[in-house]
C-alpha cells in the first residue's frame, strides 16, 4: 500500500488542519474529474478511491492522537502500533513508568498482534478495572471473551482482523471500501434520478 500521506502530497508531520484541507480540496477535484470522458474520468475515479482509503488511515491516526493528548507518548505508541511497528511500540511502552488504563489497553493490543491472547486479556482486564466507564476497553474485552475466546463461535464467521479490512478486536471505524462503493452507488442513483426528472419535465 502507498504511503497515505504521499497521496495527499504531504507527510506525517503535517498538522491535522492542513491534512484535512488538502483532503477536501483533492476530493473536490477528483469528484468532478470522475465525469470527464474516457481515461481521464477513470483516472480521477481511481484517484478518488485511493484518496478515500488514505484518508481513513490518516483520520484514524488523527483521532488516536486527539484521544491520547496531542503528541503524547501514548498517542505516538498508538501510531506505531497502527503502522505495525510492534517492537518499537513495545520498547516505548516499557520505558513509560506511568501505567494508566490507556497504557494497559495499548499493551493488550501489542499482545493481541503477537497472538498472545491470554496476556492480552489480562492487560485489557486491568484497563477496564482502572477505567470502568471506557466503552472501548469494555467492547474489546467483550469481543475477546465472547467471540475469540468462545469455543462455540461460528467458525465460518471468524476472520483475521489483524491487517486491515475487518478488525475484530482493535477498535476502528468501519472501513471506507464499503462507503466508497455506497457513495458511488448513491451518486449513480442520484444522477439517474436527475436524468429521469429531466426526461419527465422535458
Amino acid at each position: 500500500m502507498k504511503d497515505p500521506y504521499a497521496i495527499l502530497g504531504l507527510d506525517r508531520e503535517s498538522p491535522p488542519e492542513l491534512l484535512r484541507a488538502r483532503y477536501e480540496e483533492l476530493r473536490g477535484i477528483y469528484s468532478e474529474g470522475r465525469f470527464a470522458p474516457g481515461d481521464a474520468g477513470n483516472e480521477a475515479a481511481r484517484n478518488l478511491s485511493e484518496l478515500e482509503e488514505a484518508w481513513v488511515t490518516i483520520s484514524e491516526r488523527i483521532a488516536a492522537k486527539e484521544r491520547t493528548g496531542d503528541g503524547s507518548d501514548l498517542g505516538y505508541i498508538d501510531m506505531l502500533i497502527r503502522d505495525g511497528r510492534y517492537d518499537e511500540a513495545q520498547y516505548k511502552l516499557d520505558a513509560l513508568s506511568d501505567r494508566s488504563a490507556e497504557w494497559h489497553y495499548l499493551q493488550s493490543i501489542i499482545y493481541y498482534k503477537r497472538e498472545w491472547l491470554s496476556e492480552s486479556k489480562v492487560q485489557l482486564e486491568t484497563a477496564v478495572s482502572l477505567d470502568p466507564g471506557n466503552g472501548r476497553y469494555r467492547a474489546a474485552l467483550d469481543k475477546l471473551n465472547l467471540v475469540i475466546g468462545n469455543p462455540n463461535t461460528n467458525a465460518d464467521a471468524l476472520n483475521d482482523g489483524i491487517r486491515g479490512q475487518s478488525q475484530q478486536f482493535y477498535e476502528e471505524p468501519p472501513r471506507q471500501a464499503g462507503n466508497t462503493l455506497s457513495n458511488c452507488c448513491l451518486a449513480y442513483c442520484l444522477t439517474s434520478l436527475c436524468c429521469d426528472c429531466v426526461r419527465c419535465c422535458g
Binding site: E115, N145, I148, P151, L158, N159, D160, G161
Partner: protein, 290 residues
Amino acid sequence: MFGYIVPVKKELLRQDYVLYRSFYCGICKLIGKNYGQLPRFTTTYDITFLSLLVFDQLNADVQFAEETCIGNPVRRHVIVKGNSLLDRLAAANVILSYHKLRDDVIDGAGRGRRTMLRALGRPYRQALALCPGIDAIVKRGYDGLRKLEQAGETGIDRAAHPFAALLKEAALDLVGGEADGPLARLCYNLGKFVYLIDALDDIDEDAKSGNYNPFLKRFGNYQNRRQFLTDNAPALDFILASTVNRAIACFNELNFTQSYSLLKNIVHLGLRDKVNEVFASGKKLDRPRI
C-alpha cells in the same frame, strides 16, 4: 507431542479421506525409501497436515500411484508419489522426530526412546544435509523451550511461543511468504495449539514425574486430571478456544488451490474436536487412527 492436528473422520468426504491417506502413505513410503524402514514409524498425522497445506499453498504438482504396503501387502493403496517438495517434508518429519526424542531423552526418558534416538542418528544426519534451514529452526525452538522450562515460565503464551514460532518459521521456510501473513499466523497458532493440547494431555504424567508443565506452573493445585480440568475450566477454555479460533480466523483468510475441504475439516472441526476429547477424557488420549 504429535497427533493432535487431525481430521474428524465421520465428517470427512470419501475423496478427502483418500487424499489424506494418500499423503500419509506417500510420506511414510518416501521416508522408507530415503531413510530406511525404521524411521517410517515416526510419520505423523501432523506432518501429513503440513504437507497438504504446503502443497496446497504452493499449488505444487501432485502425482498419484497405486502401491502395496508392508502393513497391508495384499491391498493396493493410492499414494502420493515422491518429489523434491515431499522429500523436504519427509526430512522435516525426521528432523522434528529426532529433536522431540532428544528432548524426551534429556528429560530422562527410558531405554526404549534412547535406543530409538540412536537409531535415528543416521537418518537425522541425512535429513539435516537436505534441510539445514529447518533443522536450525527446530533446534532453536527446542532450545527456547528448554530455557523457559528451566526458568519455570508461568505465562502460557510465553511458554508456548518457541514451539509456535518453530512451526511458523518451518512453514515460511517451505512455502515462503510474509512473516506477518495469514499462513504464518495460522501456523503460529497451530504450533501453539499442539504445544498446549499436548501439555494439557500430559498433565497427569508431568504432575507425577515433576516435569515442567506450563498449566501446572500457571494454576498449581493438582490432585487429578478431572479435578484440574474442572477447577480451571473457564481459564483453560479461553486459552484453547482463543488459540483455535485464531487459527480458524487466519485459515479463513487464505486462498486454497487443492485440498480446501480436507484442510477445512482439520482446522475448523478437528482442532475443536481434539480439545473436547482432551477435556472429556479422564486419561491421556490414545494415538489417533485415521
